[in-house]
Symmetry: D5
Subunit: 114 residues, 10 copies
């Protein structure tokens, strides 16, 4: 996988919130092989380092032809990004376009332990 | 009734929230025999297993010609889905199109006892 | 006045929330004699009995030619419906179309005492 | 019925368009006795005289307790207002809130013959 | 099939437009057996008779469990309603919720020949 | 200044919330002499008396040609209305149309001391 | 009255369309003395000269305390602006906030004669 | 490429309009290799045969990893679909999400020659 | 100025419409020195060549610190782009954020002479 | 840098909230040199002094040609404005238009220490 780049938090020591919204996420359903489309929201409180926006875009593009379920991909993104930037808190929300007439939303949270 | 399928929670042990929204629910008014139309929202925190989306669709389709009141169907969906996936928490919201010029919304919650 | 019909709560013993929204309420201003138009929202947690939707519609229609102020009618609806279904909690919200260029909203709550 | 007041067209001789929109029209269904709610739009090109807004409001209020069908009331309003102000052209549009889950719109036009 | 009721046009001789919108239409896909959901719009210029709204509702309800394609049902509704009320002009528009991520709209017109 | 009229609270003893929204407020910038336009929201819990809507309209009209800053007028309205009706709680929100490409919102609260 | 300033059309000889929208127009009802609020749209094809935006703003401000009817003020603005810039075509649209629950729109056109 | 399936027009001989909207189209920019996302609208008047919806979905999926420009892909879809169903008329509209802060729309038409 | 790049029309000989929308245009008012913000829409029918999107972005960026009036900049963009790609038709629309409480829109057209 | 002007709080001693929203902020990406566009929201509880709106506008204009990252500029605005008006609390929110298909939001808070 592409490396997720980071940069030093320009206001380390101050608690503040960064949100990145990607309305152009796409992966593939592992059962039907059909494409899934969704919006991924990353919301986090950085500690020492921040996520670099461009490498984040390339990271998301790697799912384009990968077969993975809604619940699994949302948890995997959280794990990958927590590992990349070691934030104080992080939330990942994935909102999916309708399949079989139904819309799904998955919300996962991480809170750094003291 | 169709069996509601489930699959193992890919992130068991982590508390996170799954929402499925079905804007195409329809049942029948038990008094007038006229069709009712609504949006059903399922929001839950899974424990060991998750609800499988496709079987959920077939489960909802079984109400298509069944006569049942707003309050009753919302409570019954909660009972059926809690039994199917034994979640830590679950909320069912049903929002109905206007009948006699009035819109109704029913919200029911389940919280697993320790 | 028409009697407000009720029916037994199909899930008595479980705390859940029922909302009925009537966007077609109309009464008359007691000073000018001009019609008022508003949306009435009823939100309640039923105890033993629920409000029957059709009789509710007829109940609201009785205000059509009655002269009554915004504040008074909102409080009266709460009193009448609490008496009719003896809920655990109830909230009435009335939102009125502009009069003299100004919109009004009245929000009244009831909480059953133990 | 209340007389519909008029006033001399302040720009007689110039063709221009006047629109009045009443989103608070209500009448009664002649079959069920239940209230109907709609938005009435009047669009006209005045000739010698214009419709006075306040008397128009009182004119509409006279339908409040009158039993009349959608198609009939829309045509009657056109006839009454054409008679009142003798315009060069007039269009009446009535848009009704849902009854039995269906919305209706009626559009009627008048064009003065030379 | 239920008979579509009609009533005499209250303004026969005047060309005007009537629109009825049914956002709660549902039929069944003849291949998959899955329900389809759509909004049906009827727009017509009546000649001698008008469509009665309540029987129209019952007419639409007969498609609830019938397997029929988008293109076919839209053309059939036009044929049935033209036969029922013999209008000067009629247009039927069906707008369908997404299937396989795609939305469809069908627009069919009828013009009485002189 | 015009007197702000009041009337006895029809449900004195019950805590409930009244909101009046005036989207047509206008005053004058004391520096440039140019008009300012805003929406004023009054939200309060009445004690013994309520604000009368019509006199409120006349009260707001007195600012039409008065030069006063955003922050000052919002605080003054709170002071005047608290004095007029002695509520248990009151909040005034003023939302202003863009000046120099920027929008402003001022929110002031009053809480009666025991 | 303030003079409406103009400047030479930078593309004289080419037919093109300029629109200015003023959502903050206010005048006074000549009967009740109450303020009216509206949006004024000016759309024109310039000939030799264009309307200068700032002096237009001051021109509109002169109506702030003037008693004038909807129909009259819309026609007067057209006459004044045609005189000021002698356009090839001009349209004035005034859209007014609700009075007595009714909204009004006035549309007036000018076409230069050859 | 996948074959685009068709079926006989159920109302051949009557001119009517079919629209299919695919808000989930994605292809790849041939220069940067980055994904493009767009909505494709197909609007056509069928002659003897209609486009089958499911094979259309598979046809669109073939662009998922193909490098092709906005203008080229819109023209190619028109050519392919005209060849597949030989319609009387067809229009393809592609609307693309922002790239470099700019949105693009391409509209191509086909009209059968007599 | 940066050169506006072009590329050969991939469907030369077929009349079709290309639209590019730039919601992030900014220039400077030549009188006050304050920044202006607007949305520029380019709609054209290409002849032999098309506008390349990236160089268009750089072309627009050159106005960032340039003092120029609404009417002048809209006409200049039309002239520059017509010269760059020699289209069959072109329309430029500029829509500007409010200045002094007023919004402006300029629409300019070009039609190739035979 | 331009000095940020202030004026004495007209209601010093009362805790209330002031919000200024600038939807026309623009700076430059320090890596690509391309312009960034965003909306800056300032929400604060003043202590002794308030921010003067016009000098705030000039303060924001100084970023027009400055290369600075999203996270850095949001923190810098907070620092500068806290220093300028020494508020009891302040929050800065920056919301940015899409870059590479992704939107970002940064939220920073300041709370005066006792």
């Amino acid at each position: 996988m592409n490396k997720i780049e980071t940069f030093p938090n320009p206001a380390a020591g101050r608690n503040y919130e960064i949100t990145h919204i990607n309305p152009e996420f796409t992966s593939v359903c592992p059962i039907t092989g059909l494409p899934d489309f969704g919006t991924i929201t990353i919301r986090y409180i950085p500690d020492e380092i921040c996520l670099e926006l461009k490498s984040l875009k390339y990271y998301f593009m790697e799912y384009r032809n990968e077969g993975i379920f809604y619940e699994a991909v949302t948890n995997k993104i959280l794990d990958d990004l927590v590992e990349a930037c070691k934030p104080l808190q992080m939330e990942i929300i994935s909102q999916w376009t309708a399949r079989g007439g139904m819309n799904s939303i998955i919300k996962v949270n991480y809170l750094k332990k003291d």
